[in-house]
């Protein structure tokens, strides 16, 4: 039972001392973001979580300013967005940041997820971190989809129509659910209003779930490229300054990519059709989602049955929830898994193939490729992952992060060193 009353603390600054005694946020920051013991062998793939967090903050900040000038009505939405682009001071920059930031967010999160898959970051004791991450992915997808509807261009309108109609595949109650989602009998003003409201709400929920994601991470500690547990203080470094500065390098590189997109190629990832106002009497020849949904779109279209396609598409994400229990291997990192390493490469190639298939019309060879890709996607999780966890003979694991091991070429530099914990 924790003691109630003022908390002891060592802060010299009297104001900080006074506040921390009553609300120990400075102690928490010190514990979680300065002293927090972090494996010393992270590579740059461990930057992506921090970068995605920065991206989330940029999305929220730019979105707040867009909302100040946006008109969520079918009559005014399109014009208000383009008024932002033309007449609001720096409006073009804020909107290009928000628009391209959404794409970059998915890019960062996908790298983050594939990193987790390669290094086995989803395995015990990190199952909840992983599952909260899948919740974050689903929330992001919902937010991105509803945000894409707001400019009320042709792709906004027809994308909203296609995606909401998916729920019509549910037997018996499907059509009632779709009408309930629309707030009417077609995508219209009520739909736009509620999507705007939810698009503003969901990021707050993302922040909340992100907090839990990090809380769980800071309870069990980070995984690392070797996938072995931290054996003691000689294996770790304090988070600050070692990883604050390393994350900063990644954040700077990310900002360069972001700036090149915003200032030089703002339309690279956008569909030109969305610069045509929504017209319910004119269907665009090709309704394609944003690039980050293409693999899922390909899975949807690979089944010649609407309910089957929708079910498979939802399961393609939901299956990630049970991945920690599908993986039977005691070894986390693919560095020591000679077969899973190549299956991971195959899986990445498969997702890229599905993305390519999703960007093409489902005719000719693309039907076959889509079905092969979809089959391989589920075979990976349902057969390869459980089976090769048992069949594969993993390489010998190093004794600890800081100990050199025989034959571990990748570890040549991981020599035991005095632990430099105290650093300004």
């Amino acid at each position: 039972m924790a003691e109630l009353g003022l908390k002891e603390n060592d802060f010299k600054n009297p104001v900080v001392h006074w506040v921390d005694a009553r609300l120990p946020i400075f102690t928490a920051m010190e514990k979680e973001y300065r002293a927090f013991p972090t494996p010393k062998n992270f590579n740059y793939f461990w930057n992506f979580g921090a970068i995605a967090t920065v991206n989330l903050l940029i999305m929220i900040a730019s979105g707040v300013f867009l909302a100040m000038n946006y008109d969520p009505s079918t009559a005014g939405a399109f014009d208000s967005v383009h008024r932002i682009m033309r007449d609001v001071n720096w409006g073009w920059m804020i909107r290009y940041i928000h628009m391209n930031g959404a794409s970059l967010f998915f890019l960062l999160v996908y790298v983050h997820i594939f990193r987790g898959l390669y290094y086995g970051s989803y395995k015990k004791p990190r199952e909840l971190i992983w599952m909260l991450g899948v919740v974050l992915l689903l929330l992001m997808m919902a937010t991105a989809f509803m945000g894409y509807v707001l400019p009320w261009g042709q792709m906004s309108y027809w994308g909203a129509t296609v995606i909401t109609s998916l729920f019509g595949a549910i037997p018996v109650v499907g059509h009632a659910i779709v009408a309930w989602l629309w707030g009417g009998f077609a995508v219209g003003n009520p739909t736009l209003n509620r999507f705007y409201s939810l698009h503003y709400l969901l990021p707050s929920i993302i922040v909340g779930v992100l907090f839990l994601h990090i809380m769980a991470l800071h309870t069990v500690g980070s995984n690392n490229p070797l996938g072995i547990e931290v054996k003691g203080p000689q294996d770790t470094l304090p988070f600050h300054p070692y990883y604050t500065v390393k994350d900063s390098v990644g954040i700077c590189v990310y900002l360069i990519v972001f700036a090149i997109l915003v200032f030089f190629l703002p339309h690279l990832l956008a569909n030109p059709n969305n610069d045509i106002p929504a017209d319910r009497l004119m269907t665009p020849p090709d309704i394609v989602p944003e690039w980050y949904f293409l693999p899922f779109y390909a899975i949807l279209r690979s089944v010649p049955n609407k309910l089957g396609g929708v079910t498979l598409m939802f399961w393609s994400v939901l299956i990630l929830f049970v991945l920690p229990w599908l993986d039977t291997s005691p070894v986390r990192s693919c560095r020591f898994r000679p077969i899973m390493r190549w299956l991971w490469v195959l899986f990445v190639a498969d997702v890229l193939l599905l993305g390519y298939v999703g960007s093409n019309q489902p005719i000719g060879i693309f039907i076959l490729l889509g079905r092969i890709g979809t089959t391989l996607y589920f075979v990976h999780f349902l057969i390869f992952v459980p089976l090769f966890g048992v069949l594969e003979r993993p390489l010998p694991l190093p004794e600890s992060i800081s100990k050199r091991v025989l034959g571990g070429g990748a570890l040549a530099s991981a020599a035991a060193a005095a632990r430099p914990t105290e650093k300004a």
Binding site: K40, N41, D79, H82, R83, M85, R86, W92, M93, Y96, L107, Y110, V111, L237, P241, Y242, V245, K246, S248, V249, C252, V253, L255, I256, A259, I260, L261, V262, F263, F264, L265, P266, L268, L269, P272, N273, D275, I276, P277, P285, V288, W291, Y292, L294, V348, L352, L353, G355, Y356, G358, S359, N360, Q361, S413, A414, A415, A416, A417, P420, K423
Partner: protein, 253 residues
């Protein structure tokens, strides 16, 4: 553009392949634009000629409702010239004493007026299709200004065996080949103030340049600022990386 696409691909994600061209549509011609590339800027002389084509040809049918007279400043018109241009056009004014809307001479803050009072009126005049608004036309098609250029140069006699529906015209580059717009340009359709010979390719190129500006009025400023932003960030990345090396210098990792 291609290089960045490859870089993104290398980061592990497929970019959407452009949808395959509709059947029988030739690839767009290669056209040089002054505003292409990271350092390109809008050729204001061409854009001014393009504005003249817009005013004398396109504006008869197409609206450009998001573009204001004041925006002409970005292609080199002076405030006095803009005032005169606006005043020469009649725009809807405030309701008069009888509550009817009157037409008054435009001011720089006014948007370009539409040639038809309502979309329904435009529809009635053009076989049920409203001539698309030109405010974002240069962004709204794959190929952008090059697509506009190709369409304006793409009117042909239909190949043998092809019947063009009534009220439609055969165009090489239009997705269905049958476009509702009659060929809008012919040699000498306008007399350029600067003496440039008004051939169809010249006018098409000029008006596409103008429409690129109309759709992207901040493009020049955007790229200029972008150069500074990227240079700063490269410098900051260098500093941060040096700091990282220094902080990590006492760790064997």
């Amino acid at each position: 553009m291609r290089a960045l696409a490859l870089a993104l691909l290398a980061l592990g994600l497929a970019l959407p392949a452009l949808p395959a061209a509709a059947q029988g549509i030739p690839p767009l011609p290669h056209v040089y634009w002054s505003f292409q590339g990271p350092f390109g800027t809008i050729d204001t002389a061409a854009a001014q000629r393009g504005y003249q084509v817009y005013k004398q040809v396109c504006a008869a049918c197409h609206s450009m409702s998001q573009f204001h007279f004041r925006d002409l400043a970005g292609i080199g018109y002076t405030p006095a010239e803009i005032k005169a241009i606006a005043a020469s056009v009649q725009v809807p004014g405030p309701p008069n004493a009888q509550g009817r809307r009157s037409l008054v001479p435009g001011k720089p803050a006014d948007a370009f007026p539409s040639p038809f009072p309502t979309a329904a009126a435009a529809k009635a005049a053009f076989n049920g299709v409203v001539p698309p608004d030109m405010s974002l036309m240069a962004n709204a098609f794959q190929g952008g200004p090059t697509f506009i250029y190709a369409i304006l140069n793409g009117f042909r006699n239909p190949p043998p065996g092809v019947t063009v529906p009534p009220g439609r015209f055969y165009n090489l580059y239009f997705p269905t080949h049958f476009i509702g717009m009659p060929p809008p340009l012919h040699n000498g359709a306008v007399t350029y103030a600067d003496g440039t010979p008004a051939t169809v390719p010249q006018m098409a190129h000029d008006v596409a340049t103008f429409l690129y500006y109309v759709a992207n009025p901040h493009a020049d400023a955007r790229k200029r600022i972008g150069v500074h932003v990227v240079l700063f960030l490269v410098f900051l990345t260098g500093l941060t990386y040096a700091l990282k090396r220094k902080v990590w210098s006492d760790v064997e990792h």
